[in-house]
């Protein structure tokens, strides 16, 4: 018998939504001991389906048809009371953001204890023993200390382990994992995926694993279900779906996954150097008036070079210092020491007045397209603001904005709309147009495609490539995603703990990594041993 059976599940969307249903007649099942991956892009309805199983949907997303059957019990319209009894005991859920999914003002042990208090009649000592057992089982070091800790004292990976422990405390038959590794660094992600696999195998539970990442699917899935705009377009065994996809949408998605093989474009070693950093360092001083100050180096002795028409990728995990370097180069923050040479001029210590003319030479595109455009200004104003500041006549700036919109393949007529009227991918195109309006020589892309769906990501990457080629831009591409780096970079610098640990031509770094950290990073990339269907 399957642990979970979802039959013809239909979930309505509020009237003002872009489509009528969040999920339309979706059917799948999860067998005991099986991991089913529910894959889809944002808006595909995958999280809504997961929450409907748990009965956690808000009132404005009602289940209007079909059935959800958990271990033979139809829970589609179960009472809140019954759902509460089932949660944590027969079905559990792990969420995407370990940073926010735990209550910040409660000790981890107390949050685990709540589950036992609510669902069992165990005595205090027994509860504590169970808690320490599960903390050990999710392989957290020093369990005694872990249960006494508040969430903010733990790392993202540790918090996610606590979440997983909480979910598995009462050995539920079904575990729903909603993008549990998306917010984690790649090496941590690899560990958590392995942990989920091990626990699943040991306890024989069914796992409904929600993800947008085909690399993760390749690592963990037994079977795969692909969702598109609330409809299930394809379901089957992992190798079947990933290697021989039948539906066009699946083919397109899998084709959009960047490969880990670097492109083979030859880089011209004689092109002029646009940007060079020498000994660039940024140290934050942890001031506390009691103890002596502590220096926290965010970037140490970084030496990089970007030539005209070429792309340098800075790859690293969170906290590696890659964004710090980008921000120093753009002078959004002031470097502590070292030089940032742009076209022969060191801007690292220029006073703000003299920096002003240099600003337009370097432009940056940020990660989150939803927050990097002022929501109260029209797109046109966002694009022409910079040129106007530098004295371009308005008419000329508007004309250029229209041309740029065409360059980023957007309709120039949409210039007088507001940011919220665009999708994430379109907003990122607008951000790129805004950066290009300044006619920069160096474009810094700080995780510029990380927040985008894989198909949109592929389009934006293609666009960036095209622009670099047409405008002969130098590009600094900051990313945590090795696949993306392999796609676009001519040279790659791998950063760890503020230092560049490996730096060289992309083919060399990807083909024969020398540093242990680089190797570990590549080893952790999900799905790296898997041959996806060719695009």
């Amino acid at each position: 018998m399957s642990v979970l059976e979802v039959r013809d599940l239909t979930i309505a969307l509020p009237r003002y939504a872009d489509r009528a249903q969040a999920a339309s007649r979706v059917s799948f099942s999860v067998a005991r001991g099986e991991i089913l991956c529910l894959v889809g892009e944002s808006g595909s309805g995958k999280s809504v389906i997961a929450q409907s199983v748990m009965g956690l949907l808000p009132r404005n997303l009602p289940v209007t048809g079909g059935a959800i059957v958990l271990q033979g019990e139809d829970i589609t319209h179960a009472s809140q009371q019954r759902l509460r009894e089932l949660r944590a005991t027969r079905m559990s859920m792990v969420f995407q953001e370990p940073m926010t999914a735990l209550n910040p003002v409660m000790r981890c042990g107390a949050q685990l204890d709540e589950v036992l208090r609510e669902h069992t009649a165990l005595a205090g000592a027994e509860r504590r023993r169970r808690i320490l057992d599960i903390v050990r089982e999710v392989r957290l070091p020093d369990p005694e200390r872990m249960v006494e800790s508040y969430p903010h004292q733990l790392s993202g990976g540790q918090r996610q382990r606590i979440m997983i422990g909480m979910a598995l405390l009462l050995e539920p038959a079904l575990l729903i994992a909603d993008e549990p590794t998306t917010a984690l660094d790649v090496t941590t992600q690899a560990q958590i995926l392995r942990l989920i696999q091990d626990l699943q195998a040991r306890h024989g539970m069914g796992v409904l694993f929600i993800t947008h990442d085909f690399g993760v699917v390749a690592e963990i899935a037994h079977r795969v279900a692909v969702l598109r705009l609330g409809e299930l377009v394809e379901i089957g065994a992992r190798d079947e779906v990933l290697k021989r996809p039948r539906h066009d949408y699946t083919k397109m998605l899998i084709g959009s996954v960047p490969t880990l093989k670097p492109h083979a474009r030859p880089a011209d070693g004689t092109a002029p150097v646009v940007l060079a950093t020498r000994g660039l360092s940024k140290t934050y001083r942890d001031r506390s008036w009691l103890s002596r100050h502590r220096d926290v180096p965010a970037a140490l002795d970084v030496n990089l070079e970007v030539r005209k028409g070429q792309t340098l990728g800075i790859v690293g995990e969170s906290g590696s210092g890659k964004s710090t370097v980008a921000r120093c180069i753009v002078r959004l923050i002031d470097p502590s020491s070292g030089a940032v040479v742009i076209h022969g001029e060191d801007i690292a210590a220029l006073p703000h007045r003299r920096l002003q003319p240099m600003r337009r030479r370097v432009q940056i595109v940020f990660q989150d397209p939803y927050r990097s455009l002022n929501p109260r200004r029209k797109v046109l104003d966002a694009i022409i603001e910079g040129p106007l500041n530098y004295g371009t006549p308005r008419a000329a700036a508007v004309l250029r904005a229209r041309k740029l919109m065409e360059l980023v393949r957007m309709d120039p007529e949409s210039l007088d709309r507001y940011p919220h009227q665009f999708s994430g991918g379109q907003r990122q195109r607008i951000c790129i147009a805004r950066a290009l309006a300044m006619e920069p020589e160096l474009l810094v892309a700080d995780e510029a495609v990380s927040a985008l769906d894989v198909s949109v990501q592929a389009q934006v990457l293609e666009l960036l490539e095209e622009i670099r080629e047409r405008l002969h831009l130098a590009m600094l591409f900051i990313t945590h995603d090795l696949r993306v780096a392999a796609q676009v970079c001519d040279h790659v610098a791998v950063m760890s703990q503020g230092r560049v640990v490996e730096y060289g031509p992309a083919a060399q770094v990807f083909g024969a990594p020398r540093h242990d950290y680089t190797r570990a990073l590549f080893e952790a990339a999900p799905g790296r041993h898997f041959d996806f269907a060719p695009a």
Partner: protein, 313 residues
């Protein structure tokens, strides 16, 4: 942490100094002569000059300030012109009713408003929420004295549940004491209920949108526990802040309420002392209020540590 407390307490010194200078100057630079008031309508200008001399008001303002500040440093707040007794003694007599009224007011306000705010947030947009928001607008806009007379008319005169006016000391028994205090405290608490309920609602509402609430529900916890242990606990910092502000604002409210209900507290004392141009009393009471204000703020800041383990001083 302890150094933080020490530093904050030290920083009250300049604050109090500024307050002392300001209140001293304000009293002396505004019209009104305490000697003339003390002497009465029939007094001759010689008699008034005599009194002025005996009070030391004939000296220059800097000298007067020097004497007062010097006495202050020795713990001497001076003698009241009007009541003819030590100001410290006077305050000691009057502080009980004010403290009692303020404490009961805040107690009522917190006990009533926090649950109201939580329920309104939980049932966001429902009839309860809308009713509470409507009430809070009313609570903000109704002047304390109007509400006071309204309540006296209804609850005391018509229903006869509570005494109209007056105060019984705690020493005369707890129930009479409470019986006399309830109506003034309710009157005064209405605006704070409105204020704290609104802030509670807003910050619980924000907490309810957080991921850990979803986690708590996914654990199968009952709604009451989700609301209190997870939402309210995370909403505590802004609520504590507004309660602190409430206590500080209370000082102003106490003045009116004590006058209407004829309670012999510090509020009444301040009004009477200002009208009588009783400089030493006004100065001492204002200094005391400012000190209380600073201490309340410090306590609020310290309470953050209890409510949020991420905050460390």
């Amino acid at each position: 942490m302890y150094t933080f407390i020490a530093r904050r307490l030290l920083s009250t010194i300049p604050v109090l100094l500024v307050v002392a200078v300001l209140i001293f100057l304000m009293l002396r630079l505004t019209p009104g002569d305490p000697a003339a008031i003390l002497a009465g309508d029939a007094a001759s200008s010689e008699q008034i000059a005599e009194i002025r001399k005996s009070l030391g008001l004939d000296r220059s303002i800097p000298v007067q300030f020097g004497i007062w500040a010097g006495n202050l440093l020795q713990g001497e707040f001076g003698r009241s012109y009007f009541y003819k007794m030590e100001v410290t003694q006077l305050i000691a007599q009057r502080i009980e009713p004010t403290l009692a009224l303020a404490t009961l007011t805040i107690l009522i306000a917190v006990v009533v408003s926090v649950p109201l705010g939580v329920i309104a947030a939980w049932r966001f947009g429902g009839w309860f929420d809308r009713a509470l928001m409507g009430f809070s607008v009313l609570g903000f806009s109704l002047p304390v004295f109007v509400l006071a007379y309204l309540l006296i008319w209804l609850v005391s005169l018509k229903l006869g549940w509570f005494p109209v006016q007056g105060y019984k000391r705690l020493a005369e028994g707890f129930w009479p004491f409470l019986h006399h205090l309830v109506l003034p405290a309710i009157t005064l608490s209405v605006i704070y209920i409105a204020l704290i309920a609104r802030v509670t609602r807003a910050s619980v509402l924000e907490a309810l949108g957080e991921d850990y609430i979803r986690t708590a529900r996914a654990k199968g916890l009952p709604e009451a526990r989700v609301l209190v242990r997870h939402a309210l606990a995370n909403a505590a910092v802004p609520i504590a802040t507004v309660i602190g502000i409430g206590i500080a604002l209370l000082i102003g409210g106490v003045v009116v309420t004590e006058s209407v209900y004829a309670i012999p507290g510090l509020g009444r004392l301040t009004v009477d002392a200002v009208l009588a141009r009783d400089f030493p009393t006004v100065q001492a009471v204002i200094l005391l209020f400012s000190f209380a204000y600073v201490v309340v703020n410090l306590l609020v800041d310290l309470s953050y540590v209890v409510f949020d383990p991420r905050i460390r001083y």
